[in-house]
């Protein structure tokens, strides 16, 4: 177990270092630096810009800047980590992201939670009903859902549920007029109403992917001897499926959840854009439109780091959930 933890931590560190390097290169390849944006503003003189550059270290040689960039990241001195200035928000990039990251995490965690539960349930049911007409139909539907890009599902859900039938809010995270006047429970319900469509869109695709993996994992476990023993003991079929087979297939499900994080994050970018959910994805896409390079690259960096850490955590959890791995280490 300790070896797994160490190797997984090392791998996550390599990924973060690579992404940080890439972000650094791109920051300096991109036209201008964070302070040339204020060129648009005539009241910012060349003197002020030079002072700002010196203050943030942009006047030093590139290798020195690079070492400082990586060192700040490695020491986890996030306060010292210079992500730059966002001219579209007129505040430091760090402040912008600090307010957006929790919203993305809420969206992704809800979608992942819903998708895992629904996907495991669907996959278990499919394994139990293997070969039946309904099982085949649900499998084809899952493949169809996986063939649809997130933005298409999101646009469809928005057009039908929010615009045509007016069941749910069209955009945003809270009601812009009523939210502040509501009680605590009312505000939670307000966020939930806004969360339903974006999280549901992502959860639908997660369900489809998880059910496909879980179905094959269950089919691999069902012929095993301990399952036959349980059946021979007279354990009911539901108990066999839930207590014995499901318990064993849980490890793969967690691994899959970890492997799906990159795709889920990519999907969140579209879903946030379409539903106006104020998370990192929406911030990033709008920053691209506003040529706010520091904000774009910082979002990519933070997003990749979060996904890498999530993947590492999932792999360790999968090992914990699997009695064979736990016993061996």
């Amino acid at each position: 177990m300790r070896r797994l933890l160490l190797s997984r931590a090392a791998q996550a560190a390599v990924v973060i270092a690579l992404v940080a390097t890439l972000a650094f290169v791109l920051i300096h390849v991109a036209p201008g630096d964070p302070f040339s944006a204020s060129l648009d503003d005539p009241s910012v003189t060349a003197d002020i810009r030079a002072t700002q550059r010196a203050q943030w270290g942009y006047d030093r040689p590139l290798p020195q800047q690079y070492v400082r960039w990586i060192a700040n990241l490695a020491r986890l001195e996030l306060d010292a980590l210079e992500l730059g200035w966002s001219h579209t928000h007129a505040r430091p990039v760090k402040e912008v992201l600090a307010r957006r990251v929790p919203n993305t995490l809420l969206l992704m965690a809800t979608a992942l939670g819903l998708g895992l539960v629904a996907g495991v349930a669907l996959g278990t049911w499919q394994a139990a009903r293997q070969g039946s007409r309904s099982e085949r139909a649900s499998g084809a539907l899952a493949l169809l859902a996986l063939s649809a890009p997130e933005f298409l599902v999101a646009l469809g859900a928005l057009g039908l549920f929010a615009v045509r039938w007016r069941l749910l809010p069209v955009s945003g995270m809270v009601d812009p007029v009523l939210h502040d006047g509501l009680s605590l429970a009312g505000r939670a319900a307000d966020v939930l109403r806004h969360l339903l469509l974006p999280a549901g869109t992502l959860a639908l695709l997660t369900t489809a992917a998880v059910s496909r993996f879980h179905r094959s994992a269950m089919l691999a476990v069902l012929p095993e001897e301990f399952v036959r023993t349980a059946r021979a003991k007279g354990v009911t079929e539901v108990a066999v499926l839930v207590r014995h087979a499901l318990r064993n297939a849980l490890g793969p499900v967690i691994t899959i959840a970890g492997l799906m994080l990159p795709a889920l994050f990519g999907g969140a970018v579209f879903v946030e854009k379409i539903f106006g959910w104020p998370g990192m994805g929406l911030t990033m896409v709008n920053a691209v439109g506003g040529r706010d390079y520091p904000l774009v690259l910082a979002s990519v960096l933070v997003g990749s780091v979060l996904v890498a850490l999530g993947g590492a955590v999932a792999e360790v959890l999968a090992a914990v959930a699997d009695p064979r791995v736990r016993g061996a280490a």
Partner: protein, 290 residues
């Protein structure tokens, strides 16, 4: 030293795919799209980029004259979807070719070399795979600025190789110890010849499966980039950019979302279905679990 057994496998794969009705339908759907893409100027009723009458002919719902309606610039959506097939399928095919070639080459080198070369390559693959590809592409496009179609193909190709390389590497490592390779090596056959005559033909079926997966994932990716305004630039129609034209009013301008959307889902679903049958043909154990 012939590649006869592999030709036999190829025939068996084709037979197996065509045996299932679902896959036959999928092949027909795919063929339809490819023909539409190639013959676009002949089958499309209108010019996809000309704005005939931005006042009277804009945002028309589907009718006999415009079966898929018109867009906010009064262009015929059916013609744009047909010409969009050229762009979307062309970009996907070209970038998959780049990605799969790169992936095969890297995977074969890593698998054959073993040792630290292999370790470094596979760590790099793990690293690239754990970064969301969309974020990588957004960062790249944001720093290069708007790209021509060739640039989009290159970016998609250069970010798509890791999955293939992992499959090829595993396959090459397994084959390396097989008798026919060991025998060839013992006879003094040169390394590059072993690779080109023995290993590559043997991994070809797996590469084909990897290519279908890559194709099915790059179509939505290109559409998504174009939808965000970061991919194929207007007025060139791509399925993603047609949807973008209707994205701010998806309920009112539903024909701008539905028809190109159906094209995307149709192609991806067909490729996925064919890919699944191919995978069963390559690895018959898969079928036992169905």
């Amino acid at each position: 030293m012939s590649s006869e057994p592999f030709a036999g496998l190829a025939r068996a794969m084709v037979r197996r795919v065509l045996r299932s009705t679902g896959a036959r339908v999928a092949c027909a759907v795919l063929a339809l799209f490819v023909i539409a893409a190639i013959a676009a100027p002949l089958v499309a009723p209108y010019d996809p980029t000309v704005h005939p009458d931005p006042v009277l002919l804009k945002n028309l719902p589907p009718s006999a004259a415009h079966p898929f309606g018109t867009d906010p610039f009064s262009r015929d959506v059916l013609s744009r979807v047909i010409f969009g097939a050229r762009v979307s399928l062309g970009v996907a095919a070209a970038s998959v070719l780049i990605a799969v070639s790169l992936g095969t080459a890297l995977g074969a080198v890593a698998g054959l070399a073993g040792g630290w070369v292999d370790a470094v390559c596979m760590r790099a693959v793990d690293a690239v795979l754990s970064v969301p590809r969309l974020l990588l592409l957004i960062a790249l496009v944001a720093s290069t600025g708007p790209l021509p179609v060739g640039g989009i193909i290159l970016l998609l190709g250069l970010t798509g190789w890791p999955a293939t390389s992992r499959i090829v590497r595993a396959e090459v490592r397994a084959l390396r110890e097989r008798d026919f390779v060991v025998a060839a090596r013992a006879m003094g056959v040169a390394r590059h010849r072993i690779l080109s005559r023995h290993l590559l033909p043997a991994v070809a079926p797996q590469v084909l499966v990897a290519a279908t997966v890559a194709f099915a994932s790059v179509i939505p990716l290109e559409a998504g980039l174009s939808f965000l305004g970061l991919g194929v630039r207007p007025p060139t129609p791509s399925w993603g950019s047609i949807i973008l034209d209707g994205a701010d009013r998806p309920a009112q301008l539903w024909w701008l979302v539905l028809f190109p959307g159906m094209a995307i889902v149709g192609v991806v679903f067909a490729v996925n279905a064919i890919g699944e049958r191919l995978r069963e043909a390559v690895d018959p154990r898969q079928e036992a679990s169905r």
